[in-house]
């Protein structure tokens, strides 16, 4: 009985050893490679400025206030005033929206003012018409315009009335209007 027990024990160890060898036979040699890319998000940094006399720029460079003009007569012309938008970002910026506001104390004054916008180097203006129609008419030249990073865009803005167009009506006397253009960019 004692012999038989040893034989059984050896037999059990032998089966266990075979099982381990079998497990080892299923393993493989392995290796691996990996690719890595670092992506950093850019920061949009647009600034606006002007070479016009007495223009004021906010400390953050986002808001430009041109010198007040007037009192104007029924016929006037501010002359071209340069507005420079610089893309100081590390990514390109696309103009997506132009919002024009013109709060006024005199609707006849606001409604009688014309505005001409001409890009630097262009032979014809991108807009030349009533201030009140600028926002609705300007989408075709605003949407999609891209300012590459590290570059700037210069536009010349002229406000006027009279001359080749209708002069201000008599009721426009003694008024104030504050035209404001806000341009939004995506990057």
């Amino acid at each position: 009985m004692a012999y038989s027990r040893k034989v059984l024990t050896v037999g059990a160890l032998g089966v266990a050893a075979f099982a381990l060898i079998g497990a080892g036979a299923n393993a493989t040699f392995t290796d691996g490679v990996q690719a890595q890319q670092e992506i950093t998000a850019g920061t949009m940094n647009m600034a606006i400025t002007s070479t016009a006399a007495n223009a004021w720029r906010s400390p953050d460079g986002k808001t430009l206030t041109l010198a007040p003009f007037g009192p104007v007569g029924s016929t006037f012309d501010t002359g071209p005033q340069a507005i420079i938008v610089s893309n100081n970002s590390d990514i390109d910026a696309k103009m997506v929206k132009l919002v024009v506001t013109a709060p006024t104390s005199n609707a006849q004054l606001r409604n009688g003012i014309y505005v001409k916008i001409q890009m630097d180097g262009a032979t014809s203006p991108v807009y030349d018409g009533l201030l009140t129609k600028l926002q609705s008419s300007a989408s075709q030249f605003v949407l999609g315009q891209t300012i590459a990073h590290g570059t700037s865009m210069t536009a010349y803005v002229t406000f006027y009335a009279g001359g080749d167009v209708t002069s201000l009506p008599d009721g426009a006397q003694g008024g104030l209007v504050i035209p404001t253009f806000t341009v939004s960019f995506n990057g």
Binding site: N45, A67, P71, V72, G174, I178
Partner: protein
């Protein structure tokens, strides 16, 4: 039975993650800049002899005048009280009787002399009252004398020769006397009256 709930939870997390990726893909970096200015319009203002109006009504009655009355003289100081220079100034004159009717004999017997006393009494007009008040006067260009022709604007009378800067005054003198200084007023002008109305206008262009 215990495995299935774990799988379902894992799948749910994955779908939620995809949803967040989708939301991120639709967003953009944005910024904006703005530029503004302010435009103020000036106003036009005239005063006549210190009063805030540019109209003068003179009553001339032969019932108070003899046939050889002394010339009626009126000094007219026109001042620009607005905030804009006036590039052109105008004088419109009307007188009752010039187009017939009451006072016709008197109005048509009167002569008017208008001078610019600021500029050494420069003569602007010397002629019949009704000729000055005639609406066709400036259109025809006849007898405009010291007025500016062609006039820059229509329907406001004759253009005076001077511009009027902000705060500036010009002293005019109007003299009314009989057309026939020697013969005086005709007898038909007795007991008649005419009202002479002078209206000054200014334009900034």
């Amino acid at each position: 039975m215990t495995v299935r709930p774990k799988l379902m939870i894992g799948a749910g997390i994955a779908i939620a993650g995809l949803g967040l990726i989708g939301a991120g893909a639709g967003a953009t970096f944005t910024t904006q800049v703005s530029g503004s200015t302010s435009i103020t319009s000036g106003d036009m203002g005239l005063s006549l002899n210190g009063a805030g109006q540019s109209t003068l009504l003179l009553g001339v009655g032969a019932d108070q005048l003899g046939s050889h009355f002394a010339p009626i003289s009126r000094d007219l100081v026109l001042k620009n009280t607005g905030s804009l220079d006036m590039a052109s100034t105008f004088l419109s004159v009307s007188a009752t009787g010039c187009d017939g009717g009451d006072g016709a004999a008197l109005a048509q017997a009167l002569r008017v002399r208008l001078t610019d006393e600021t500029n050494d009494g420069k003569l602007i007009y010397d002629g019949s009252l009704c000729s000055l008040a005639d609406n066709t006067h400036q259109a025809s260009g006849n007898g405009n004398q010291g007025f500016t022709t062609p006039a820059a604007h229509a329907g406001v009378g004759d253009q005076l020769p001077d511009t009027l800067q902000v705060g500036q005054s010009i002293h005019y003198r109007l003299l009314i006397q009989p057309q026939d200084r020697a013969g005086g007023l005709p007898s038909s002008a007795q007991n008649m009256r005419t009202s002479v109305n002078l209206v000054f206008s200014g334009f900034d262009y």
